[in-house]
């Protein structure tokens, strides 16, 4: 009886089910934690006022409540009190015993600033330059009016910044041109060099002029400022253009909160980071990650597929092929940092340095390609993922029934025709699976990037509107590295914590997005090319 029970395999089915459940559970918990912590970060939290036993007050966002580790039954609360310029700490613990009263008061303000993090408090005065009038009654209305008034000036300033950048770029181009000509033996008195020098001088004077205008524009902006004070009345002046956003969380309705949330999400997706990456957007990192994976695919996919096809379809089976196959499989298991070191040594210091010597000798010792960049990083990732693609391709071709191959060959097709017209379409779903695995692996890899070109803050994107549009030598930002950087390298770890969750969530979403596109493609191919059983 019991023997047949074991033989029937019921317990085995249960055990497999249990194992699968555990795996699913882990995944759900992981995604759940990231989503829970990541999605709530931008929801405006109420500003709580604590009246303390010593008569002072504290204002801030409630973070968490926990039991004292030493004193049982006593609790303490953590507030994000902001105002780093006043308190030098963003977060503070308050023991229950020391808090007399907790309340949420209307009218409390939160300012997101370019520097020093958030400010929580009240407005006392609003100032605009002479000659401009402030309409409106309450200080909040005055503040908003002043912001509207300064807007055109901010625009002017931004435009000026752009032109300064342009001039700098031009000057750099002229400098490099001159450097090249001199390097190739042109004398200092040559007409072309003189012309270049004149151009440089002109650019320089233009730059000086721009800087003067810029300083003036800044002065105008300084006229717009407000006087704010914290909950205990300590006051400070803040210039309006330092304020990224001001809001009154305690007065917001649901609609306003949703509006605020979407605004923050937009900032996250399309803006640059601020405050050493703990605030602002992640656009450069998103862009960097996607570009990196894309470039990696361009290298790894064709190479992997071609190598796989050769191994399976053309190479004569022998000890050599077997050796290669073993090598490929082992390659997939090498730690990624090893690839990183190889990339640094071979691509950056080897290939890159040679390119510099051959094509940009005049710029040395400043490296052009001889330093980390998105090209080298994606080549390194390409090497890392090629084995996955090779193995998947081989498996996909191996799974095609021999009959189909024979049918095509018996029709008088050449091997190439058979390959292109019949085998490739049939193997494509399997190859796509390899692509998906490779992409997922590449998007999540950080270690090899850290030594081949990823940076904390990149001055320019690897793709932009400037010819030649793809800037392969540029350094780049990456979501995975961003997590490591703000989570573990930031001076203000506590303040960066929400951003770690948000970045993680975003990375997961980006990977998910890229792989789901591939999965949809694969399923479409599968429907089309799979042999139905009859």
């Amino acid at each position: 009886m019991s023997k047949s029970f074991w033989k029937r395999g019921e317990p085995f089915v249960w055990a497999s089910g249990a194992v699968l459940s555990i795996v699913v559970l882990f995944t759900v918990v992981l995604i759940g934690v990231v989503v829970k912590n990541g999605s709530g970060v931008f929801w405006p939290t109420a500003l709580v006022t604590y009246e303390l036993e010593d008569g002072k007050k504290a204002l801030g966002e409630f973070v968490k409540r926990e039991e004292h580790s030493s004193k049982k039954g006593e609790f303490r609360n953590q507030l994000k009190i902001g105002n780093r310029d006043f308190y030098s700490l963003d977060f503070k613990w308050f023991d229950d015993a020391l808090v007399k009263n907790k309340k949420i008061e209307k009218g409390m303000l939160a300012f997101e600033r370019l520097e020093y993090g958030n400010f929580y408090g009240l407005i006392n005065e609003v100032h605009v330059p002479e000659g401009e009038e402030l309409q409106g009654g309450s200080l909040w209305e005055q503040f908003n009016a002043a912001q509207e008034l300064q807007e055109p000036h901010v625009h002017t300033l931004e435009k000026l910044e752009q032109s300064i950048k342009q001039v700098n770029k031009k000057a750099e181009k002229v400098r490099l041109k001159r450097l090249k000509k001199v390097y190739h033996g042109m004398s200092e008195e040559h007409a072309e060099i003189v012309a270049l020098d004149a151009e440089a001088a002109e650019l320089k004077s233009g730059f000086k002029q721009l800087m003067l205008t810029f300083a003036e524009a800044e002065k105008v902006l300084e006229g717009y400022h407000i006087k704010v004070s914290d909950i205990n009345g300590r006051s400070k002046e803040i210039e309006l253009f330092e304020i990224v956003r001001a809001y009154r969380p305690n007065d917001m309705g649901l609609g306003a909160k949703i509006g605020f949330y979407t605004l923050k999400i937009r900032e996250l997706l399309f803006d640059e980071p601020r405050e050493s990456n703990t605030e602002g957007g992640l656009f450069p990192a998103i862009c960097g990650t996607i570009t990196l994976v894309f470039l990696m695919s361009l290298l790894s996919f064709p190479m992997g597929v071609i190598a796989g096809v050769y191994l399976r379809e053309y190479a004569k089976d022998g000890w050599m092929v077997r050796l290669v196959r073993i090598a490929v499989n082992n390659l997939a298991g090498i730690p990624s940092i090893v690839y990183g070191v190889f990339g640094l040594g071979f691509f950056v210091y080897g290939l890159g340095a040679h390119i510099d010597h051959l094509f940009f000798p005049e710029r040395l010792p400043t490296p052009t390609y001889g330093t980390g960049g998105i090209l080298w990083a994606s080549l390194t990732l390409g090497l890392l993922t090629v084995p996955v693609v090779i193995v998947a391709t081989e498996e996909a071709f191996g799974a095609i029934p021999r009959g189909v191959r024979e049918a095509s060959l018996a029709m008088g097709a050449t091997r190439l025709q058979t390959l292109m017209r019949v085998l490739f379409p049939m193997a494509s779903p399997g190859i796509m699976t390899g692509f998906i695995l490779a992409m997922a692996r590449a998007a999540g890899e950080v270690a090899p990037l850290m030594i081949t070109g990823v940076v904390k803050l990149a001055p320019a994107l690897p793709i932009d509107g400037e010819a030649p549009f793809f800037h392969l030598k540029r350094k780049f930002m990456h979501l995975g590295f961003h997590i490591y950087d703000i989570g573990f390298q930031s001076p203000n770890v506590e303040a960066a914590k929400p951003m770690v969750y948000v970045t993680t969530l975003l990375l997961v979403l980006v990977v998910l997005l890229m792989t789901s596109v591939a999965i949809i493609l694969r399923n479409r191919m599968k429907r089309k090319f799979t042999i139905g059983a009859f």
């Binding site: 049918a407 029709m411 017209r421």
Partner: protein, 259 residues
């Protein structure tokens, strides 16, 4: 020549002293046989007797197995196909093949039929459509699939698939069609349809069919060759061979005493 071997004048395929080896193991021993034009010739014999090997030697499909070595002459249209100078691609266009397990490509029915034309570089739409219809009619499949030519060939029944494979072979207008147990994976009704088709195809093509099914050989073929342990034992007109075998082994086999 022993009296149990029939000679064919002007054979379409003429095998002369063919020996085939798998590595060191010999599979075919000194077989000489001529196949008649516009006739159906059945190759029968117990499993492992080498009939498929012999069949696949005629369009050099054995080349695909690296270890196979063919000695002797196989003459198709006056040309020894075992010569190095022979273009295998060209040969396989003249000698079509239908396999035991139907193997349509994962393409539309239309593309399956015109595959041989496409790889030969014919892409004229009206030509392809014309030949497609002609071949499907020839394979008795036209009425069944004419409304879904652009649907996947993997969605039709097993019997239809096999007839589609025949249509595909017919489309390139070969001289000889080799069939390797074409009905062994089909149910009786589909088998009858394919057998009828083979009988019709005889008018335009020379057919060599390997079969395990004695009744089938008797039903469809004009000539029958009996192979045993890699040797050609007896070859003659089907009716004579089945009713009055000259060799003891043939008699034993067709009466079901072994095999």
């Amino acid at each position: 020549m022993r009296e149990s071997f029939m000679t064919i004048g002007d054979p379409v395929v003429d095998c002369k002293n063919v020996n085939i080896y798998y590595g060191t193991a010999q599979a075919i021993f000194d077989v000489s046989i001529g196949f008649a034009r516009n006739k159906v010739t059945a190759l029968i014999g117990p499993s492992g007797c080498g009939k498929s090997t012999l069949l696949r030697a005629i369009n050099r499909m054995n080349d695909l197995i690296g270890t196979v070595n063919t000695k002797g002459e196989i003459v198709v249209d006056g040309e020894n196909i075992n010569h190095d100078s022979v273009d295998v691609i060209e040969l396989r266009r003249r000698v079509g093949m239908v396999f035991q397990k139907s193997n349509p490509f994962p393409k539309s029915i239309f593309e399956n039929v015109v595959y041989g034309l496409r790889i030969a570089g014919i892409n004229n739409k009206s030509t392809l459509e014309e030949i497609c219809e002609k071949s499907l009619r020839g394979a008795g499949l036209w009425e069944e699939v004419k409304d879904r030519l652009n649907e996947s060939a993997l969605g039709i029944s097993g019997g239809q698939m096999q007839r589609l494979c025949i249509a595909r072979a017919v489309a390139v207008d070969p001289e000889v069609i080799l069939m390797d147990e074409p009905c062994s994976a089909l149910d009786p009704r589909a088998t009858i349809k394919v057998e009828d088709l083979i009988t019709e195809l005889r008018e335009n093509f020379s057919i060599i069919i390997v079969t395990h099914n004695m009744q089938q050989a008797a039903r469809v073929s004009d000539h029958t060759a009996f192979l045993y342990e890699g040797k050609l034992i007896e070859y003659g007109v089907t009716d004579t061979l089945f009713t009055n075998p000259k060799e003891k082994a043939t008699e034993d086999y067709i009466t079901g005493r072994f095999g």
